[in-house]
């Protein structure tokens, strides 16, 4: 027992959390039990500890009973530790004389047996009561927030976040990997449910980004390293050579006309390979910035070094620079918004639908391009044979709601399928069949759009398609693709011959989401989307302070939701910047120089280079500003002379001893438990 035993005065509070805790844990029994533990002056249970009266209870007890330690048993410390620390501080006590016990997430919510749950709660309470005696007063620690912001990803979410921040006067770096901003939205034809043209509403925002004095736009660039912490991140951005001087190019496109390739030859990725482009190209007419790119993979000069370089001659501004090399920019920012988007499901992973085998099986994104007036067919929706389809089948949930591929609902496919059904009917007059499992039209005015489609006499067959086949069962099916599905509403299996199949492919995390996550030190959910700090209450924050997420990188969502989230992420960043500083956990390490033997074993362990060896004193020394508080060095110090605030050895041993019942003898109280 610590020698200052006599002076320790602990207040213990256990929360009912309504029924959340009290239904499984006998909170009265726990309070009664803890009241019998040494040093405990007061032990109470209360309906909602986090409520104002609950917090007031703590502050009042500190004042009235002269408490100098507080333990609250309620929910997870990740949720309310700050709340209770503040309450403790309001009572006039150093906020770090506080320890929290998680009896909700770790006990009542995961156990059913009331007796076992109550005993576990008692153990955890006892451990905390014992641990808190070793707590020390610490100073609150603040850092300054650098006012500049980095936005990664130039889709609609990134664009909106960047504009919001820039309009509020913040300097924004917008980094986009492709040669143009715009993302997937730029590839869409119309947007649901209003059917306004995607380009018409997107391109003004793209131009605004380009023109904004507060936005530094770097396209064809990727973040290569991130160092630092909230308020002070150092970021390196790799700028890939586009072999065109961005300052000089005015987008006249003369170089494209004069390219030695008279006809476009290579698959145009913006049109998903449905059309061709030359090695020097502009992704699409409204590309922003309107600067051409030269693709070294296909350009003759790069492949053989023997090109006439007609493009260079064609440019009267001498903007083409085939010797351009990659550059790296280093910037300082205080906050980061990640809006790296999604990728569409690879339809080849569901071979039963014949994508890649049957030429007239298209993905939804391909059809967006086919309908689009600036698309590969100039907006004429035709099969590969160049004919207008008379019947089209749209298969929903391709790569969604399927444990063989992706379990989640991609949330957008129902609505965009309805939109495509409408457009297909409008453009070609075709009979359109939707094959769906459930229609999810939960957004504002989405249900009304579904109504409209029903009245347009689009077919809705509730049944997931098993296969698309070219095997005709009756002569009338010859020459068609046949979709076989059970019409579950009618209860029969139907075979429907169509001229074109559209696969409503789902949304997936970007292929490199894992790398990006590591780069920015945030978490991913099991599916691979970036993980928000709290699914309800912190939807744009991450577990890393100062890094926010917006748009489909966090999970499948449509344009309105992405924009809303981008606005929220921008507001979060702005809040930090305007506040000017942020509080850090004071859980950094410190060195007891007296006992340090100077063995240097800690020094190579620190990944943040916070530890060094002081030749003069022969001891290790720690730069607290660099220390992030992991405690790895503490665990390694053979003499125990490095300690970590809030996680000192004595505290952890105290917790273990408390848990294992070696300190306090439990008596009859335990037996009382129901």
């Amino acid at each position: 027992m610590p020698d200052h035993n006599g002076s320790i005065r602990i207040g213990f509070y256990i929360c009912h959390c309504g029924h959340n805790i009290a239904a499984t844990v006998d909170v009265e029994a726990v309070a009664r039990y803890v009241s019998g533990l040494p040093n405990v002056v007061v032990s109470r249970e209360y309906k909602y500890m986090c409520s104002d009266p609950g917090q007031e209870l703590i502050a009042q007890d500190i004042h009235d009973l002269n408490l100098n330690r507080v333990v609250v048993a309620s929910c997870s410390p990740l949720l309310h530790e700050t709340t209770f620390r503040t309450a403790v501080e309001r009572g006039g006590l150093n906020p770090f004389y506080f320890q929290m016990v998680n009896v909700r997430e770790n006990v009542s919510w995961v156990h059913e047996d009331r007796r076992a749950a109550t005993l576990k709660a008692m153990d955890l309470a006892r451990a905390a009561v014992h641990r808190v005696t070793f707590h020390k007063a610490l100073e609150r620690k603040f850092v300054h927030i650098h006012p500049d912001v980095l936005v990664v990803g130039g889709g609609i979410a990134g664009i909106h976040a960047a504009l919001t921040l820039a309009n509020s006067g913040k300097k924004v770096y917008l980094v986009e990997r492709e040669p143009t901003i715009g993302g997937h939205m730029a590839q869409f034809d119309k947007t649901f449910p209003t059917l306004d043209c995607a380009a018409c509403i997107l391109t003004p925002k793209m131009s605004a980004v380009k023109a904004h004095p507060n936005i530094k736009l770097w396209t064809y660039s990727e973040v290569s390293s991130v160092e630092g912490y909230v308020g002070s991140y150092t970021v390196k951005v790799r700028r890939k050579p586009r072999y065109v001087d961005e300052e000089l190019c005015v987008g006249c496109l003369a170089c494209i006309d004069e390219c030695v390739y008279k006809e476009p030859k290579y698959a145009d990725s913006f049109n998903l390979g449905l059309s061709k482009r030359k090695p020097v190209y502009l992704p699409f007419p409204q590309a922003t910035p309107k600067i051409v790119v030269i693709d070294p993979e296909t350009c003759i000069q790069f492949k053989s070094g023997k090109c006439k370089q007609t493009c260079v001659e064609a440019c009267d501004r001498e903007a083409i620079d085939l010797k351009q090399a990659e550059t790296v920019e280093e910037i300082k920012v205080g906050t980061i918004v990640l809006a790296t988007g999604y990728k569409t499901f690879n339809a080849r992973r569901t071979p039963q639908y014949g994508y890649g085998r049957f030429p007239n099986v298209f993905t939804s994104l391909e059809v967006e391009r086919l309908i689009n007036a600036s698309g590969p067919t100039g907006g004429h929706l035709v099969t590969r044979e160049g004919r207008e389809p008379r019947t089209v089948g749209i298969i929903h949930c391709v790569g969604s709601r399927d444990r063989n591929t992706n379990r989640w609902c991609s949330r957008t496919c129902c609505m965009y399928s309805l939109k495509l059904a409408h457009l297909l009917k409008e453009h070609t007059g075709a009979e359109v069949y939707n094959f769906y499992i459930d229609i999810r039209a939960a957004g504002k005015t989405y249900e009304e759009f579904y109504d409209r489609l029903l009245e347009e006499n689009v077919h809705f067959i509730r049944g997931r398609v098993a296969e698309v086949t070219d095997v005709a069962a009756i002569p009338e099916e010859e020459g068609h693709l046949i979709i076989r599905a059970e019409d579950t509403m009618i209860g029969v299996v139907r075979r429907i011959p169509v001229d074109m199949v559209v696969l409503a492919v789902g949304m997936e995390p970007q292929a490199d989401a894992g790398d990006v996550r590591r780069l920015f030190n945030i978490s991913c959910s099991t599916e691979g989307f970036f993980l928000e700090r709290h699914p309800k209450l912190a939807p744009v924050e991450t577990f890393t302070d100062g890094i926010f997420i917006a748009g489909a990188c966090q999970g499948p969502k449509d344009i309105p939701d992405s924009v809303a989230q981008a606005g929220a992420a921008a507001a979060q960043a702005q809040m930090l910047i305007d506040k000017g500083e942020v509080e850090l956990e004071p859980n950094t390490a410190f060195i007891d120089e007296e006992h340090c033997s100077g063995c240097k074993s800690c020094i190579p362990l620190c990944p943040f280079h916070a530890l060094s060896f002081n030749e003069a004193t022969g001891k290790a020394q720690l730069n607290a500003a660099l220390c992030k508080g992991c405690g790895t060095c503490v665990a390694a110090c053979p003499s125990g002379s490095i300690q970590q605030n809030l996680f000192e050895d004595s505290m952890i041993f105290g917790e273990i001893d408390g848990l294992m019942n070696m300190v306090y003898e439990t008596g009859k109280e335990v037996a009382d438990v129901a």
């Binding site: 997870s76 410390p77 990740l78 998680n102 909700r104 997430e105 770790n106 006990v107 919510w109 995961v110 156990h111 059913e112 047996d113 076992a116 749950a117 005993l119 576990k120 008692m122 153990d123 955890l124 451990a127 996550r517 590591r518 030190n521 978490s523 991913c524 959910s525 099991t526 993980l531 699914p535 577990f543 890393t544 859980n587 362990l605 990944p607 943040f608 992030k628 508080g629 992991c630 405690g631 790895t632 503490v634 665990a635 390694a636 970590q644 996680f647 050895d649 952890i652 041993f653 917790e655 273990i656 001893d657 848990l659 294992m660 019942n661 070696m662 439990t666 335990v670």
Partner: protein, 166 residues
């Protein structure tokens, strides 16, 4: 730890050291998702699995734990870059040491559980409880008493000591 009595009269007691960023968060998620699991684990939250001092593990066993579980972020995902690798290194060393001391390797486990793997917390906890059940109590505190008695017998019975020395 309080005595939890089941029909056999004994329940495995496990101390878990979970890192704040991944495994502790996953345990929270298991809670939010109401993933019921065995009540035999007591979690101690640390900032990083790299903070797990081998002495914590020894202390837990010495104080009467039947098993010790360490939970950290997946390799490459550590919030502090490489704390989990340090944990892994220490874990391997420790397990060998514990084995030499006669503590079954199944009693000491290291798991990578990311923040989104609430389900995994449940699986690992349930698995570990089931693995420990057939092993029975480790009961080091009582064992120490037994060892003391044994030693005492050896010392009093001089012949016995000699024959061993020979």
């Amino acid at each position: 730890m309080s005595p939890e009595v089941n029909s056999n009269g004994w329940e495995p007691r496990i101390i878990a050291f979970f890192c704040n960023w991944c495994t502790y968060t996953a345990a929270d998620l298991a809670g939010v998702s109401r993933l019921r699991h065995a009540p035999n684990v007591r979690i101690i939250r640390l900032m990083c699995s790299g903070r797990v001092d081998p002495q914590f593990v020894l202390d837990a066993f010495v104080q009467g734990a039947d098993g010790v579980l360490i939970g950290g972020c997946h390799p490459g995902d550590c919030h502090y870059m490489e704390g989990n690798y340090k944990a892994l290194r220490r874990f391997r060393l420790m397990r060998r040491m514990l084995e030499n001391m006669g503590i079954e390797p199944q009693r000491f486990r290291l798991e990578w559980i990311s923040a989104s793997e609430g389900e995994r917390v449940r699986t690992v906890v349930n698995e570990m409880v089931e693995t420990l059940r057939p092993l029975g109590p480790l009961a080091l505190p009582q064992q120490r008493v037994r060892w003391d008695e044994e030693l005492h017998e050896h010392v009093t019975d001089e012949k016995e000591v000699k024959s061993h020395a020979g």
